[in-house]
């Protein structure tokens, strides 16, 4: 099978797997234990925290290890539930369900959860500016959209919020879902002036079940208190082998980020050209568009074929693709909600296919994917 669903998950890299195995063997202790094995594990954990912080160019005190992106998002959003006076949360309408599912939860607790429209997949800083009120406590905005690859103008959006806060003296927590950015596109957390951000290891060849919450807001409260690990923000025994393997994968991803970006951009152009030649539609921004996008994700419409039919045809031809977001296929109709928020026509939404590319794909694979797309268009359109 040829894998073109890297946005859903990536397999753990050989070197990360080696680290995982080595750490599992070498550090059997619980970092919270006070005996030698426990202390050794604790030291190794803190060493890794420093290493990861330095890779991400942030302070080690802002790195909290979690189980992945969803948990990192959940810690930040669930923290609001403990607040005595409910306020307002602003969120782009194209966030991952890890964020959007909090709409109902927060509304039940009298919070206002406003989803901001994103025509074409972009949140206009002006829209944010208009939505800001003194009641706003948090803004959730993803960096790279997992369905179409659009990249938000975070700098400008953050600046709009910060200047509003300055004028009104009302602090607004800015949370960013950076799951599809880290290790793929340049993403400097420090220079963005955000308060928190979610990172997941299995999106950049790290292990499943490991992630990071970057956080500089000291008033956040934990989702699971447990034994008070991670400075009380994330209880539960730390996944030391997973964390160290994540560090290794992150190091590898960042070291080849530019080279990979170039290769993937080239692949994306090849596929985009084929898609258009085959008479299908491109839903992601076109190559060379002035708007920012990630080359790792290309969303197309295979109208008139419904997404799932196209997926089956391509699966039989040996290609793993995805309809919308893999996390949503269990709940019917949800996969298209992001596309709907992007104001994409209903027929295209029903026929939307996400092709996600990686530098590990070979050019031959991309060529055969293009051939298969062309062939399918000829046979079934």
């Amino acid at each position: 099978m040829h894998y073109f669903d890297w946005t859903a998950t990536t397999p753990i890299s050989e070197s990360a797997l080696e680290v995982y195995a080595n750490i599992s063997r070498a550090f059997p202790g619980n970092p919270s234990s006070t005996h030698t094995l426990g202390l050794e594990a604790k030291n190794r954990l803190e060493e890794e925290r420093k290493r990861i912080a330095s890779l991400l160019n942030v302070s080690p005190s802002t790195i909290f290890f979690t189980s992945g992106g969803t948990e990192s998002d959940s810690i930040v959003l669930s923290s609001l539930l403990h607040t005595l006076t409910p306020g307002t949360v602003l969120s782009s309408a194209i966030e991952h369900s890890a964020v959007l599912e909090y709409k109902n939860i927060l509304q039940e607790k009298s919070w206002k959860f406003i989803t901001l429209r994103c025509p074409g997949g972009y949140l206009d800083p002006q829209t944010v500016s208009e939505a800001l009120t003194p009641e706003v406590r948090m803004l959730c905005i993803m960096s790279v959209n997992n369905v179409t690859g659009t990249i938000q103008n975070l700098k400008e959006i953050v600046s709009v919020v910060r200047s509003y806060s300055k004028q009104t003296a009302r602090p607004v927590h800015i949370h960013c879902d950076a799951v599809q950015s880290i290790g793929k596109i340049p993403f400097d957390i420090s220079s963005l002036d955000i308060d928190s951000c979610a990172i997941s290891a299995h999106k950049f060849f790290g292990p499943r079940g490991a992630g990071i919450l970057y956080n500089r807001n000291k008033s956040l409260l934990p989702l699971s208190k447990g034994g008070g690990q991670e400075k009380g923000l994330r209880g539960g025994t730390e996944n030391l082998p997973g964390i160290c393997a994540m560090g290794k994968a992150l190091e590898e991803a960042l070291s080849s980020i530019n080279e990979n970006y170039k290769k993937v951009s080239n692949y994306r152009n090849m596929i985009e050209k084929t898609v258009l030649e085959s008479g299908f539609t491109v839903l992601s921004p076109f190559s060379g568009s002035t708007k920012e996008y990630s080359p790792y994700i290309l969303n197309i419409s295979v109208k008139p074929l419904p997404s799932e039919v196209f997926l089956r045809i391509m699966n039989d031809k040996g290609f793993c693709l995805s309809a919308g977001s893999a996390c949503s296929t269990n709940s019917r109709g949800k996969a298209e909600s992001v596309l709907e928020a992007m104001q994409i026509k209903s027929q295209d939404r029903m026929s939307s296919i996400r092709i996600s590319i990686c530098a590990k794909n070979t050019e031959e694979e991309v060529v055969s994917l293009c051939e298969a797309i062309k062939q399918t268009a000829k046979e079934f359109k």
């Binding site: 008139p304 074929l305 419904p306 799932e308 039919v309 089956r312 045809i313 039989d316 029903m350």
Partner: protein
Amino acid sequence: MNNIENMQLYLIRLGEISLKGLNRRFFEKQMKANIKLKIHPYHSLIEREKGRIYLYVDSSCPEETVYNTLKTTFGIVGFSKAVVCEKNFDSVVDAAKSIIEKDPFSDGKGTFKVEARRADKSFEKNSYQIEAFLGGVVLDRFPEMKVDVHNPQKILYVEIRDSAYLYTTPVSGPSGLPVGTAGKGLLLLSGGIDSPVAGYRMASRGLRLDCLYFHAYPYTSEQALQKVKDLAMILARWNVGMTLFVVNFTQAELWIKDHSKEEEHTLMMRACMMKVANKVAQKRGCQVLVTGEALGQVASQTLEAMCFTNSMSEKPVLRPLVGMDKQEIIDTSRKIGTYETSILPFDDCCVIFSPKHPLVKPDTETETESFKEMNIEELLDKCVENIEEYQFSYRV
């Protein structure tokens, strides 16, 4: 009576079968065969005596297997697990003590009575004495229970005949008539809620069913096919086994799409399904077709549409749900255990074959002409030739 040592006894009550006249034996024979088949490989004996059916099952057979068998065998109105003991009062009391530890007495709540019948008048106690004493036994064990001789929720029966027989309020069976007594039908099974219920209802009238499913991969998924297989498997319990035929319908669907007007797609598809179903029914010796259509439920189930699809079938089409409300159908679906599978989100028809504005009041003559113009008969013959067959066990 045959050797019944080491066998557990169940008393079976018959409903409609008991109203039968000279052909009553025929129905009973089929029911016995169905029960024995479902309990196999465990040894079982079925006796008929004085209007009762006695089922003896090898005691190594799990009680659950017997219960599941009897609860899914049409013709049975109710059944009770009975305890047989020696004809002396102490043994009867011990047997009563053990039987009330089980359902329906085991929860120790509600009202009850003891009903004794003494065919052997030489027994040491009379019926009233037996009832009074055993009533005391129940109350000693379950002080919260109350005696109600007029409308009891639970009854402990005691019969003194060749031996002493004790049993409690019967567990309900599915009633109806034994599968296999009314001939054979072909059920058009989709993955939806209705068709399994239609199959259940016809099986409950004694019709033995085969199932037919139209698969249009890649336009319908493998999961949709799996869902239909799962439904056939559930129905197999009621139908005493099931054969599912899967027709590869992709080429036919594409042909219909290319050779008929958009608003006629669904009607032409139904017509083709009827044609294929008739051919399969003929091969399998099925006398009728069964569908899950309910009048007016969707565009293809209006009276006019049904008249048209009827005209495409030589075999009679039975539609047991035709006058049922959707909620009634859902309730039955839940009862027979198909609902959870039916609602899995794997469609049995792709949207690209479903017209936006289907014809709701088709004219049979016009549509018959349209069908002929499609010239699809040869393709449908091929569909039947390449049919796949799956067998599902009657094991419960």
